[in-house]
């Protein structure tokens, strides 16, 4: 039996790696992947708690998160493709259309 | 018809019409203005019974409608009308009709949106006059801003965006303070009676410790003073008027400014009478300064619209002064001046609009000798100008005289200083008139001016009739407003007395004023002063 704490610790570290990835990389695609990492970290925590609580709700949530992730990736990648067409770049520090 | 929700229909008919106009095809200019005119005319006809169905002798609110709106907060959809709001509502429907007909040819771009907004504005204004629920009042009050903001910002002149934003922010600044005061009233009401409500009539019976009234009164007064506008909060007005399209100026001057004074009369004064007693002299002096100041500054304006705008500051000073005099002459004069100002200044703006439409300039220096070229216009201008100056026999005189009389009874100096405004108004108006209408034709362009068209004459005819009617036989108007005004006066005085007494009894044993919560007020005192 794996202790829930271990899984949570793993989840935390994975999440942090995702955060660091978002912060240090400038390639939008890699940032996107890092986000996926974070989502997976969250999923991991869900699964861990589901096991501890002997409930299926957590796993159901993971299922929904995955759906959202799939949708997000589809749209997000479409955006990136579009962006690349317009700007010839996927580097986020070259794009500041939102500047106030 | 008795069961018909008449007031609601009055409020929402223009809104429905606005929506209908808004979905018409954008380039169908002719049908758009016809339908807008028909809607405004129907609304006016439909509002005419306000003249005879609002029974003059009956002082309270009539045709009340009450529906739950947000039950948790105790906010209600509560409408009602009395002599004061009835007359102002009539003025509103009348002015809107005039403004719409007047704007027939002057609005070329986006006429659909323009007429829709004017109609929506009418709905907002009528709602503001009719509602008897403070939250509803606030909603209408703010809702009114938006169409006006757009009218100035889209159809305005050169600096329209600046003017529109200034207008909006100024008014907002005041009204958020008012919202805070409304909310604190609500809490006090809940604390006092246990029932959460925004109902105005309930607030009329809510005892407030005089020490608490001051801030709430100031918040209300600030909002209303901006709207009036009172010196020194008036600077949005010249900009808004100058930049606004003619119809916007007319409605702004004729109705929107009255919201401020109406607010004083309906809310600020009867709700916080003790605070009023403290503040009245200051407000009155500000009003008097406004009278003189507006007139002086109007005198040196090179732009006709700006001149009229500053004259509005001056005239509205009279209205506030009459209210602060706190006697029946002052009140009646104030109310008369509201109506007069609506008619005369509305007409003045229309007149300026007429030549602006033809010449695309409002500079006084660009005109001269108009009498030779367009005599009918000039004669109408003369009459309207005289009514604005307050010549006896025209409407302007009755209002100004009653206000001065009321002020005189309160304090001789008020009347003396305010009466100089009467001299000054003659100065700036006559001088403007002389430069525009008299003299030889100095600009060749002016020779080609065409005199008023049939449609324009149709616009001015009822205004002229009103000018003389209200000047020669104003009694029908006075009869309608007086019971309502007397009631406000009575209520204000009674409440002031009641709460001052309550305060005295509450504070005496407690030694400290702070805990003098409304709960400490004895119930008999409250009942005694309520009606």
């Amino acid at each position: 039996m794996i202790p829930t704490e271990w899984v949570l610790a793993l989840s935390a570290v994975l999440f942090t790696i995702g955060v660091v990835g978002v912060l240090v990389r400038r390639n939008a695609l890699v940032i996107f992947m890092s986000i996926e990492l974070m989502l997976n970290a969250a999923n991991l925590a869900f699964v861990a708690f589901a096991r501890q609580q002997q409930s299926l709700d957590g796993q159901i949530f993971v299922f929904f998160v995955m759906t959202v992730a799939a949708a997000e990736v589809a749209v997000g990648l479409a955006i990136i493709v579009n962006l690349f067409r317009l700007r010839e770049t996927v580097f986020v520090d070259e794009i500041n259309l939102l500047k106030g | 018809m008795a069961q018909l929700p008449w007031l609601s229909l009055l409020v929402f008919f223009p809104l429905a019409a606005a929506i209908l106009v808004a979905i018409m095809p954008a380039n169908a200019h002719k049908p758009i203005r016809w339908w807008a005119t028909i809607a405004a005319l129907a609304e006016f006809v439909f509002s005419l019974p306000l003249w005879w169905r609002v029974i003059p002798g009956q002082a309270g609110f009539q045709f009340e409608e009450k529906l739950d709106w947000i039950p948790v907060l105790g906010a209600q959809y509560h409408l009602g009308v009395d002599g004061v709001s009835g007359l102002l509502a009539l003025l509103t429907t009348f002015t809107t009709l005039i403004a719409i007909i007047g704007a027939w040819t002057s609005v070329e771009k986006r006429s659909r949106e323009f007429f829709a907004l004017v109609l929506a504005l009418e709905a907002g204004m009528l709602g503001t006059f009719f509602c008897l629920d403070l939250l509803l009042f606030y909603v209408f009050w703010e809702a009114m801003l938006i169409p006006m903001y757009l009218l100035i910002g889209v159809w305005g002149g050169q600096r329209r965006v600046y003017a529109a934003v200034k207008f909006f922010l100024y008014t907002m600044a005041g009204s958020v303070l008012m919202l805070v005061a409304i909310l604190s009233l609500w809490f006090l009401q809940k604390q006092y009676s246990g029932i959460p409500t925004f109902d105005l009539q309930a607030f009329y019976q809510l005892p407030l410790a005089p020490s608490r009234q001051l801030w709430m009164f100031l918040a209300f007064a600030f909002a209303f003073a901006i709207k009036v506008p009172m010196f020194p909060l008036h600077t949005w007005l010249p900009d808004a008027h100058v930049e606004a399209p003619t119809a916007g100026s007319v409605i702004l001057a004729a109705v929107l400014l009255k919201m401020g004074t109406y607010g004083f009369l309906r809310f600020a004064m009867p709700l916080f009478p003790n605070a009023l007693e403290v503040c009245a002299p200051y407000i009155a002096w500000l009003a008097i300064i406004g009278i003189v100041y507006g007139a002086l500054v109007a005198m040196v304006q090179p732009d006709m619209k700006k001149l009229v705008a500053y004259s509005s500051v001056s005239h509205m000073g009279f209205v506030v002064l009459g209210l602060m005099a706190m006697n029946s002459q002052g009140f009646a004069g104030s109310m008369m001046t509201m109506l007069n100002h609506g008619v005369s200044t509305g007409a003045l703006f229309l007149l300026v609009g007429v030549i602006y439409e033809r010449r695309h300039t409002r500079k006084i220096a660009d005109f001269g000798g108009l009498w030779t070229v367009i005599p009918v216009y000039s004669v109408i201008f003369l009459v309207v100008m005289l009514s604005s100056v307050g010549l006896p026999g025209t409407n302007g005189f009755i209002g100004e005289f009653l206000v001065l009389l009321g002020a005189f009874k309160h304090s001789v100096w008020w009347a003396v200083v305010a009466a100089t405004g009467v001299i000054l108004s003659a100065c700036y108006m006559l001088w403007m008139f002389q430069r525009v209408v008299f003299g030889p034709v100095t600009h060749e362009e002016n020779r080609k001016l065409t005199d008023l068209s049939f449609r324009e004459r149709l616009v001015f005819a009822p205004l002229l009739v009103l000018i003389f009617w209200m000047g020669v036989a104003p009694q029908p108007f006075l009869d309608r407003m007086q019971p309502a005004l007397d009631r406000v006066l009575q209520m204000t005085n009674d409440r002031a007395q009641m709460m001052a007494q309550a305060d005295a009894t509450a504070t005496a044993p407690l030694a400290s004023r702070l805990p003098a919560a409304p709960a400490a007020v004895s119930v008999p005192a409250e009942q005694g002063g309520a009606r």
């Binding site: 520090d93 | 002086l296 005198m299 002459q329 009646a332 005289l386 006896p392 003299g439 009694q475």
Partner: protein, 673 residues
């Protein structure tokens, strides 16, 4: 009901206005003239009928009140539109409608060639309406309607030739100066309302003795304010400045409004309110002094003016001064008497002057006239009568009224005022005969065949002479602003001008006889008895001995004769005297010629400072301070936003960083708790 229908008297001219406005363009000049004159004539007939009804009653009942409707009623204060006919208003209404009718007729001739003929009669009828309302009103507020109404018509008629800058300036000046007076009048009325609760004459006068202490400060202030109103309307110091400028209007207007009727409204108001004024001795004293000072000052200015209408204008101011000091010394009846006689002879003088101007093709400078006696016989004869009347030679009208005023002043012990009156009388006689001599006697000083061209040449002169004028208007040339195209020789005016002249001339002779009193007949004069129900027998001082009365009369006649003699001598027989005088007293002459620089003084102390202050208020206070504050708040917020904007870089990384930092902050928060 066999009421005399008072309301119809003012309503008739008003109806004419309405008809003229609606159908005037279809009527043509003849129709318009007929309509206008007919309405006023009919009003005169109704007035006569009403007055006869009044006279038919016993003395105590000589008062007719007719209420048309309640004008407005607020609280316990109410005002009716109602009319009052009593002996006082009877005199006024007869004078107004009578003289008004004559002047209407005269105008049909004088204005015959003006393109704005119809507008002229429109205004004129409107004026009649307002004036009759003023005179017939039975309360102060309705009187105020007429009061402002005549002011309006005066404004419109002075600026009748609206294309002329000087005319519209003068009109505006008249209206605004009058407004200053109205301000006083209105406040005075408010004092009455505040204390008596009514504006109705009868009620105010009945309650005044109980509510005010005689000589108290309230009644003094109230009456002083009302008198301020009177100074505005009746052109007294300090508000007389508008009247001379008012000569920019057509001459019949000057005759009707600025001589015979409107300007006497102030006197009428004071006499009407005599109950109040008698309770305020200080005010009466002020009135007397102001009246005397005005009489003297205007007379001195009148001595040297060259414009025929300006001389008459200053003479009017001066004569109004007489009326006021009559009131000031308590001789209200004498004041009204002088109002009446003055209306006759001054209207005649103006109309005569108009006739001269008409004949001279719009020349107004007396230096360009002379020798007209033979060319315009009717005008000459009637003018001569009027001149004698105003100079105060018995048995002409002016003598009786002026003498009564002087006698009353003397009898009440106002010797200073009396002396001033005498001095004024000399000057009146002098400048009026100067006018007469320069105009009608001596040699013709104009080009006989082409007066018109000549006049134009000199118009330039006049411009130069009046260049000092701050408003930049030229001398009051009664110029229509367009070419008449008829030069031609000087000739007599048509019948519709000369007939009114003749009628007025007759009145100028016999009009004063109704006031022949004490030394000639037993008891009060007819006029005095007629007015007694209104004015009461008065708090009369001891009557003068008959010998004193005759002495005073003799004195005033002698003085008038002296003035006349001097005028003939200086301007007809030995013109060198006049020139010598000019040179000798150059400074004085300049001061007089420039009207003591009062206009310039007012400009300097009031008009310009107010204008400058307003400009500063607008440019500095409004735009810099108030708007500056408002915009300042805006700029401040904008600055703060600009600062905050730096955080919004537009880079995703930055946002992500802030999110992460936010998470850290949350962690910290949970750690602390």
């Amino acid at each position: 009901m066999n009421l005399p229908m008072l309301w119809i008297i003012p309503a008739l001219p008003l109806a004419a206005v309405a008809l003229n406005m609606l159908f005037g363009d279809r009527l043509g000049k003849k129709g318009t003239a007929f309509l206008a004159c007919g309405a006023v004539g009919l009003a005169f007939a109704f007035a006569v009928r009403a007055v006869l009804t009044l006279a038919g009653r016993s003395e105590e009942e000589r008062q007719i009140v007719e209420t048309a409707w309640t004008w407005f009623r607020v609280g316990d204060f109410s005002v009716d539109v109602s009319f009052l006919l009593d002996p006082l208003s009877a005199i006024m209404v007869l004078v107004v409608t009578g003289v008004g009718f004559l002047i209407h007729v005269y105008s049909t001739g004088y204005m015959a060639e003006d393109p704005s003929f119809r507008r002229f009669f429109l205004y004129l009828n409107l004026f009649m309406f307002a004036m009759l309302t003023l005179v017939l009103a039975d309360n102060y507020l309705l009187m105020f309607v007429g009061w402002e109404g005549v002011g309006l018509c005066s404004y419109l008629l002075i600026g009748f030739w609206y294309e002329k800058q000087s005319a519209t300036d003068a009109g505006k000046k008249a209206f605004i100066v009058n407004r200053i007076g109205d301000f006083g009048f209105l406040l005075g009325v408010m004092f009455l309302i505040a204390w008596t609760g009514s504006v109705n004459f009868e009620r105010v006068f009945a309650s005044a003795p109980h509510l005010f202490t005689a000589g108290g400060s309230i009644i003094t202030i109230a009456t002083l304010l009302m008198f301020l109103g009177a100074t505005g309307k009746s052109a007294q110091i300090p508000l007389y400045v508008w009247l001379p400028d008012a000569m920019e209007g057509p001459t019949p207007v000057s005759a009707l409004i600025h001589a015979a009727t409107m300007v006497t409204a102030g006197v009428y108001m004071v006499v009407r309110s005599h109950v109040l004024f008698e309770m305020a001795p200080v005010t009466l004293e002020v009135i007397a002094i102001v009246g005397a000072a005005t009489a003297l000052m205007a007379a001195t200015i009148g001595l040297v003016q060259n414009d025929i209408k300006r001389v008459l204008a200053y003479s009017t101011v001066s004569q109004l001064g007489y009326m006021f000091f009559a009131c000031g010394v308590g001789a209200f009846g004498a004041g009204i008497f002088h109002v009446m006689t003055h209306a006759f002879f001054k209207a005649l003088l103006f109309l005569g002057a108009g006739s001269v101007i008409y004949g001279m093709h719009h020349e107004q400078d007396m230096r360009k006239m002379g020798g007209l006696a033979t060319k315009m016989p009717v005008t000459h004869a009637t003018m001569l009568i009027a001149t004698i009347a105003i100079a105060g030679i018995p048995p002409f009208a002016g003598f009786w009224s002026k003498d009564e005023i002087l006698a009353k002043a003397f009898a009440t012990g106002h010797y200073g005022i009396f002396a001033a009156g005498l001095l004024g009388a000399v000057m009146t006689a002098f400048y009026m005969f100067r006018l007469y001599v320069l105009t009608f006697q001596g040699k013709a000083r104009f080009d006989e065949s082409g007066g018109h061209a000549h006049a134009h040449a000199h118009a330039a002169d006049a411009h130069g002479a009046h260049a000092h004028d701050a408003h930049g208007h030229a001398a009051a040339h009664d110029d229509h602003g367009h070419d008449h195209g008829h030069g031609g020789p000087v000739k007599e005016s048509p019948w519709n001008m000369t007939v009114p002249l003749s009628v007025l001339a007759v009145l100028s002779v016999i009009g004063g006889w109704v006031g022949i009193g004490k030394p000639f007949i037993e008891g009060e004069s007819w006029m005095g008895r007629w007015l007694e129900p209104v004015l009461g027998s008065g708090p009369h001082v001891h009557h003068l001995a008959v010998s004193t009365e005759f002495g005073l009369m003799g004195l005033s006649v002698a003085i008038a004769a002296f003035g006349i003699f001097m005028a003939f001598r200086a301007y007809l027989q030995q013109p060198s005297i006049a020139t010598a005088m000019h040179e000798r007293f150059g400074g004085v002459h300049r001061a007089l010629y420039n009207k003591y620089w009062v206009d310039e003084f007012y400009d300097a102390i009031a008009v310009n400072p107010i204008y400058q202050a307003s400009m500063r208020l607008w440019r500095f206070w409004d735009e810099k301070v108030v708007d500056g504050t408002v915009n300042g708040v805006g700029y401040f917020l904008e600055g703060v936003s600009a600062l905050l904007r730096l955080f919004q870089t537009g880079y995703v990384g930055t946002y992500a960083l802030f999110i992460a930092l936010g998470v850290l902050a949350l962690f910290l928060h949970f750690l602390r708790s």
